[in-house]
Symmetry: C3
Subunit: 361 residues, 3 copies
């Protein structure tokens, strides 16, 4: 057990020079490649988190909704949504990685390995795998590989994230640059299929749509139609649920424009839930290749979504296929375009996520 002597939290000083007890977060200089951060505040989840996930998002994927349906697919019971697992794991990294972050730059090599069941306790650890100071000397990019573990010390999920972080002192020397080599796309062989998963007896009627893995074509685009106008109370409750307490989501006095930036993960979950309409059988998220929070989202926005099939592959598990999907959240419906001629995301694009999901063959 760690005691207070072994903690690597940087000493913080108040304005007057005395030691304060509050967390000022890590600045760019506080990271070293190879460092492992054991994030705080482990979290036990229950049917309460599952109910709340269903209240916050129009979540209808049957595997997460019904114990019986999950059992008919070879699982012991309905797991907590894969994205809920992500949010819990991510939320624990925020006090250590995000407090002085300027921007969330990307994700890679996200793999879901062990489902999360009611009663499980999750904790997070992150290894610093890259550092690169920016030429302006005021910020730098930090790459971390975060692992979420359950009470059996099993890997629940992992992902790489990189963020632009402020420096405490612009004159501090730059660390040696280390830029990790990351797979832009996970191969199907990199994916982990939950033990026992079997879609050979999959009930398409109870699932809500008849579309099989074989019915989707690479390049196909699906407009998920429905929109949800998001509210302040919802996104704050959703973000707090994962113990993500980043000020910008909660404090209307933080930004000069008085707006509370919606946690990007809230947009991910909203879009994923909306994607049920056309992708009801993309049940389990098992890989995350990339993600860009293209434009900020605020309360009052009507979020819509569309998807594109990027790739398909079979897996070893009975009746289980894998689809690689682009999930796009927008603040306006219409054409399914992502970027302008300048190569930048169009202003109505909120999210561009590249992930693998499992679907009955």
């Amino acid at each position: 057990m760690a005691n207070s002597d072994t903690l690597d939290r940087p000493a913080t000083k108040s304005k007057g020079g005395a030691m304060t007890k509050t967390n000022e977060g890590r600045f760019f200089e506080d990271y070293t490649v190879g460092q492992v951060i054991r994030h705080a505040v482990p979290r036990t989840v229950s049917g309460g988190e599952r109910a709340l996930y269903h209240a916050l998002y129009p979540a209808r994927h049957a595997l997460y909704s019904s114990d019986l349906f999950a059992q008919s697919c070879g699982l012991p019971s309905a797991p907590i949504d894969d994205l809920a697992a992500f949010h819990v794991v991510f939320g624990k990294t925020v006090p250590d990685v995000s407090l002085n972050a300027v921007a969330n730059l990307g994700y890679a090599e996200g793999r879901w390995v062990t489902p999360v069941w009611p009663g499980d306790t999750l904790r997070s650890e992150s290894e610093v795998i890259g550092l690169k100071q920016n030429s302006n000397g005021k910020t730098g990019v930090v790459w971390v590989r975060t692992r979420g573990l359950n009470q059996h010390d099993e890997l629940v999920m992992e992902y790489v994230r990189w963020v632009m972080v402020r420096k405490r002192d612009a004159d501090a020397a730059a660390p040696e640059t280390v830029v990790p080599e990351l797979k832009p796309v996970l191969a199907v062989g990199d994916l982990s299929i939950p033990a026992g998963l079997d879609f050979t007896g999959y009930d398409f009627e109870l699932a809500g749509e008849p579309h099989r893995w074989g019915d989707y074509e690479i390049g196909e685009k699906i407009d998920h139609v429905d929109g949800v106008t998001v509210e302040e109370a919802e996104h704050m409750m959703a973000t707090r649920l994962w113990q993500n307490t980043a000020k910008v989501h909660f404090d209307a006095t933080f930004r000069p424009d008085g707006q509370r930036l919606i946690y990007g993960g809230h947009v991910i979950s909203m879009a994923r839930a909306l994607s049920f309409n056309g992708l009801a059988n993309a049940q389990m998220i098992v890989g995350l290749n990339a993600g860009a929070h293209a434009n900020p989202c605020f309360s009052g926005t009507t979020v819509r979504a569309w998807s594109e099939v990027l790739d398909k592959a079979k897996t070893e598990a009975p009746g289980v296929g894998a689809v690689r999907l682009r999930l796009v959240a927008t603040s306006a419906g219409g054409s399914m375009e992502l970027k302008g001629d300048d190569g930048k995301y169009l202003p109505h694009v909120l999210l561009d996520l590249d992930y693998w999901a499992l679907m009955p063959v």
Copy 2:
């Protein structure tokens, strides 16, 4: 297990003529009398749904609040609220019955048969029992009898609902008219009393009011006094909790006036919870005779409620009486009047519900 070949979902075509994967819902022509629709997305409930029901509504009926109180009334533990069971069952019908509905016309023959316990999984099935095209040829009325079943294939509850549905093609021929004969009021003998229910040792002090079945007179009206001003985030979370994703409740761009129509069931539950004040001992809802969502409800409305005792009867169960109640939700307090001289609901009336509840004798 159903496979995709046997689904009866109508083929949907995109504007360009290609098959789309999203659900356009059923139009009037897609229904046939006798058809059974096995609705999708079964749902397992837990203490999470019970906690959320208590957060969303000022629900204080003791039988649903306390395992001990429920046990003192002969039940194994506190069931999930009867209206929560209704919302779950109803929510599953929405993608199949409501997507192209113009108006919700009425309810009848609603019976609650088996309580819902944390851990239960519910699914819904509907049989089409009536069809009548409107003279304008653009819409028609569809009657469905919906049954909610649990994981033991026991009937949890059932009800008849009829909706006005758009036609896909105004020129399509009208089906043979079938209008079901429905009981305007269930007789006490039609009601199902949960097994083991026994009010002989009912604790009136812990229940919150001293009024017994014998203290209520037919014709008596009760003003429940309290008002709750409803908010967008709440009604959306409440509606989503039941996996009811009808656009009009969530998308502020859907209606020309930019408002999100509040799910009628949210008003039902709010009014029922408010009715605790004066009807604290009307514990279990066992029958639904009729219901009209008289006027739409939107965020910012202060909902109030009053009730009228329509009938009373004893039951076979020890100490258990039945009361037939009219529950009225309003957007303004004051006189307990329902309709104007023209026979239409007064503008401040939101809901007129006719139901049977069980009360200690």
Copy 3:
């Protein structure tokens, strides 16, 4: 079991003189010293309440978040937050004590004795321990000692509260004045340490901060930095969750200014959760010495918090120290001042709470 004949609820008459069934609450004349009120609507809690508490407040104290962490501290599993227990117990007293209250004057002698676990059922009882009519004859102060009990009839927590209550009839004679002697501060010996609690193996890294009991100095002030802008839907859901249905929190037509007063307990929990930043290891709240809801709080306020260490002491339990803390919630950050030259709370002070918490030595 109580039957309706033995209830002591005062007879209520409608304006027309007939008996109404709704609860008009107790007026000052309805209280007698020594009277015991057995409050209604017991409540079973589950993981659902724990999840909701984490969604409503940025709660990160590890003992309540993680079963494993709680077990590492000698408890069977993670209890429900001590303040959640308080809100449940308090909420049940509202229909009997608060309906005609003009002001909440103070708290004293609050002791938490038995943690609350998912599955527990709580009920509340209050003994009237003091009465004092005000000289204007229109109101009087009522002191109650409220006890929360679980399903084993174990004392979960207790506290004394006094409120100013309206008189029904200004001409009614004043009762004999009884003003209870209350301890302004509980001694450490008055506190109850949960059975089995053991902080000798406390994991500071997983807890989130390295600060031990020995690192805090009496007189030290800690600014918790973060602010949360509160919303209508959240505070209403939070208050309803505890079955506290006092109109002023829910009905925007109740106050002339159209505002819904936020339940003071919502501010307590928000401030306590914010205090994690600097007091992450003040894990268990075991005593409440005093509390003032200094100024009202409304939606749109950005709540911040600071704390002051008032006292410290060791306890009998292994590795467990006690800290006495002042917790202040404000509607604006800045100087950590409480009162102006006139001895009144400054306008930006929302809450001043004096409590004991347990911390690893």
